[in-house]
């Protein structure tokens, strides 16, 4: 089997598993909705204009709910004793990373689509004509988040207290992406968005750097 085929098989296996178990997907999505509602109570949407400050807020929700989902992506393999089997399979280790990465990316994108919908209904969030710009820049940010998130999940899968450690390790590394996401959202909703925005370029640099580094470092992260 060539590597792409292996990645696809691994992705499909996890995809099917998540659909059947439902608990990870459901709890993360529900947590996202819950945080959005709590933010509404904390900020009072009748006074705060979410179209100006919404990007950062929504990204906090994505960060929290996303870490809940991604943190478990390797832990479940350790718990079921299937990590060994995965590692023993005669394939390039980075294919295992890529498969998990794809699933996490897909989950985050679904989560974001739902969040935009809920923010639209509940908090008067109106992307309007800026939606393509918003979608494009969020995809770029999400790519980087999933890249680092998947690597750290593998790193912490066999560490005692890994679930507690995961967000503490992940969030400081995400600072550039959070600032970029907040700024890019604000710009996407205004007419002055450009696809050559320096923030977008910084995010792409982050994506390339960390995806490549993760492919390479993954082997060390899971090695026995």
């Amino acid at each position: 089997m060539n590597t792409l085929r292996v990645i696809w098989v691994l992705f499909e296996k996890d995809f099917r598993e998540e659909l059947r178990r439902k608990e990870n997907v459901a709890s993360s999505l529900l947590f996202a909705l819950l945080s959005l509602v709590l933010f509404a109570f904390a900020l009072d949407p009748t006074r705060v204009n979410l179209n100006e400050t919404g990007g950062g807020l929504l990204w906090l929700v994505i960060l929290f709910a996303g870490s809940l989902f991604m943190g478990g992506s390797f832990r479940k393999e350790t718990e079921n004793g299937t990590l060994q089997a995965l590692l023993l399979s005669p394939t390039d280790r980075s294919a295992i990373y890529a498969g998990k990465f794809l699933l996490n990316l897909l989950f985050l994108l679904v989560l974001e689509a739902l969040l935009i919908f809920f923010a639209f209904v509940l908090l008067d969030f109106r992307p309007g004509p800026g939606l393509p710009a918003l979608a494009g820049s969020w995809c770029a940010v999400t790519f980087g988040y999933a890249a680092v998130g998947t690597l750290l999940s593998a790193l912490l899968a066999q560490v005692r207290g890994g679930a507690v450690l995961y967000p503490i390790l992940l969030f400081p590394l995400m600072v550039p992406l959070v600032i970029a996401a907040a700024t890019l959202t604000e710009r996407a909703l205004s007419p002055r968005f450009s696809w050559t925005d320096p923030w977008l370029r910084l995010v792409l640099l982050f994506d390339i750097l960390f995806f490549t580094a993760s492919l390479f470092l993954f082997e060390y992260a899971v090695e026995e």
Binding site: L156, L165, L173, A180, A221
Partner: protein
Amino acid sequence: MEKRTGTVLWILAAAANAVALALVFLYAPVEVQMGAVQKIFYYHVPSAIVCYVLLFLAFLFSVLYLWREEPLYDHLAYAAAEVGWVFITAVLVTGPVWGRSAWGKWWVWEPRLTSFLVLWLTYSAYFLLRLFSRGEGRTAKIAAVLAIVAFFDVPIVHKAISWWGSIVHPKKVVLEPPMRLTFLVSLVAVFLLGAALAFTRTRLGLLEAQKAEREGWA
């Protein structure tokens, strides 16, 4: 890792710091606008420089550890990160004191100070990881991967925060000759202090590992 080397380093560091402190308080002129508070500069800036050097060393030794799997590299990386963290803390403690007299506030979300705060959070997480996974075989590898990822993040964090923030550290500081001399001596003193701390910390790590091995729980 001879004990004597450590002793020599410590004596040098103590002497250099004594000279540096004497110069700071007795020789360097009092700055016109900020007054005596400006003297923080002589330890604030060297701490920041030494911290960058140590974090780079932590990255370097982590790469070497993954490559060669020599336990010594792991101890060196751990020590460099830990002492680096101490210097980040020093920068974060002296920064607000400076800010209070320069900007009238203890904390402003100023780019360089803010990126040091993020740096502090990142490396605190690194120690938390070391604490949680203490005594587990794979700790060293996991920590090494994290140190590498964290190091790649540093320049991006810095870039992002400097775009995001508005107030900026002066790009270039022009120092009067006596001030420059004092600054250079302080820089050497802080470097030696960092070296002595890192050396002792590495030695401690090696001794701990030896003890663990002898008692058979490693």
